[in-house]
Symmetry: C2
Subunit: 344 residues, 2 copies
């Protein structure tokens, strides 16, 4: 995921209280300190080292948090609360990692309380996609809105929904799984990574972009991407984007088709939630709004929504790209910690 270059604020300019945010992924732990207004004072990343197991993981996260606090010029005791975001499956109320696909060996681990023990601070626990959405909502692309949906386009399609300032976590910690809404109900619909068919993720993820391109190439479509096969290179969403930039028609059509599927899924979400904004995050942003292809992609999403959604909704909803990049997760986790403190 792209890291947007967020400027750090100095301790002198920051507004207390301070919060730490941790974004735990299968590869890296991201950790940062933010002030009361969500402005980062420090940030660091360290490898997750899955193989060392969750007990050491919790300790390493606490150490990273302590280092981030030091980098910000703060002692750990000056951190009001820690926000911890992890992938699922999880039990948010109990603070437990259940069966996280990307963290093998970390099953059924009471991660919230262990991080709390090691940091000595209260820990708020959140789903990573919801935390990223909350970050964008708090200080990113959703900052001017009261409600927002974020879709994270990467290997899969993640989702986060915020209504009246609260994330929708769900009764089974499975709320806001927007990648798994059904966009194709036919029996022969595409297979999703979750094992079911017809989900948005099976059509709008980077994985799906690569797969659909591969299928088109295999069926003989002319494209500059055929050289990938010849050169033994994997077809990826990034290469599809690059080919589209170079004028490849198939690549562009695949990207616009992806936008249309997204538009279908977004329409369903709009008619369910009616949010002020939809924010598209994740690595697959086709260069973002500054890029010719990114712009066409976004326009095609908006067109499909305009074609399918209630006019009053499509006229008002703001659909755009995320602005915090890979910072959204730890900032959002810190924001959820702040919210939890205010409610406690």
């Amino acid at each position: 995921m792209t890291m947007a270059n967020l400027p750090f604020i100095s301790l002198a300019d920051a507004e207390p209280p301070f919060y730490a945010g941790i974004d735990l992924g299968g590869t890296n732990i991201k950790c940062g300190i933010v002030d009361n207004r969500g402005r980062p004072l420090s940030y660091l990343t360290t490898q997750t080292c899955i193989e060392l197991g969750p007990e050491q993981g919790a300790q390493r996260m606490a150490e990273a948090t302590g280092q981030a606090a030091l980098d910000a010029g703060l002692k750990m005791s000056q951190i009001a609360r820690v926000g911890l975001a992890t992938p699922g499956t999880m039990d948010i109320p109990r603070g437990i990692l259940l069966n996280p696909v990307n963290l093998p060996g970390w099953e059924n681990f009471p991660i919230r309380d262990r991080v709390a023990q090691h940091t000595g601070r209260p820990v708020a626990y959140a789903n990573d996609a919801n935390a990223a959405a909350y970050g964008e909502f708090w200080v990113g692309s959703g900052v001017h809105h009261c409600s927002m949906i974020m879709l994270t386009l990467g290997t899969g399609v993640g989702g986060g929904i915020i209504v009246d300032g609260h994330t929708i976590d769900g009764e089974n910690s499975h709320g806001s799984e927007c990648g798994h809404i059904i966009v194709d109900s036919r029996d022969d619909a595409r297979l999703c990574s979750c094992g079911h068919t017809g989900h948005l993720e099976a059509y709008a993820s980077a994985t799906s972009v690569a797969r659909r391109t591969q299928e088109a190439l295999s069926s003989g479509h002319p494209s500059s991407l055929n050289r990938c096969q010849e050169e033994g290179l994997e077809v990826t969403a990034l290469r599809v984007h690059q080919a589209a930039e170079s004028g490849d028609e198939l690549a562009l059509e695949i990207i616009l088709e992806t936008a249309r599927y997204l538009g279908i899924g977004i329409t369903t979400l709009l008619h369910t939630i009616d949010p002020a904004a939809v924010v598209l995050g994740g690595a697959m942003n086709f260069g973002g709004v500054e890029n010719r292809i990114g712009k066409r992609f976004l326009e095609a999403v908006r067109q499909e929504v305009a074609r399918r959604a209630f006019p009053v909704i499509s006229a008002h909803v703001q659909i755009g790209f995320a602005s915090l990049g890979g910072n959204a997760g730890y900032i959002g986790a810190a924001g959820i910690a702040k919210k939890q403190e205010e409610l406690s």
Copy 2:
């Protein structure tokens, strides 16, 4: 819509404060007084008389509320707050009926404030489907849960979503329009009453049941319902239900197909909201859970959800019929008034 026979509670047994609820429809105004625990003390219904216009309508609603208060043994000044539920389109924050399809001539009318003037009480304004959902959530089938989705199966498919005790009203008062989530994204999908294609309502409403049956009959399917055509009777969802009760195979298949479409839509909603319960309300309940066909219908909905949703969700979510019948709207409106008072 069926009116469940709710027992009235006497004033002596009731717990103050008291709330009035008004459920405005195209045909009738329903009005009742409930106590602090949502138990009705009185109920009455009067014709809407659309042709008299909204100014008189507001006055008539206030008169009905005053009468309901009297019937309960209360003066209007003893009613803490009034809840008013109307069909859309509407502007909930501003309290305005915008362009209600079922109330021609009542466009752009400040209905909340007019009812407040005529009753002399503060009025909380809500969408009728959300109010019905809130009624079931407060004292009906959702009473033991923290979150709930209600689908109202009638001429259309209405929806109401409650998360952490709050209805999702949306930025444009278009939240929880569950009938308009997309279950079939093909270009030749069925046309919805809203003018778009592939929406849940186009597959799972009573109108759709009648239409799909009619289509099957026209294409030569054997069925006892062919006599409708011969006798010049309209095919309705009720007649389809009756035919299924009498062993008609086509009728049963249409009902089970409806359940499968509902299961698709419900799966999408479950993956978005992850609620504790899904409640099916509205006139089209195939006799409810006490009825052989109603039971098979519900079972088929659950099966489709089990086939399509995350196992942890389908294992935990409670899917059942509503229990308040036509009382849900005014009770829910009163409940929203109570909630608004508590938050004010």
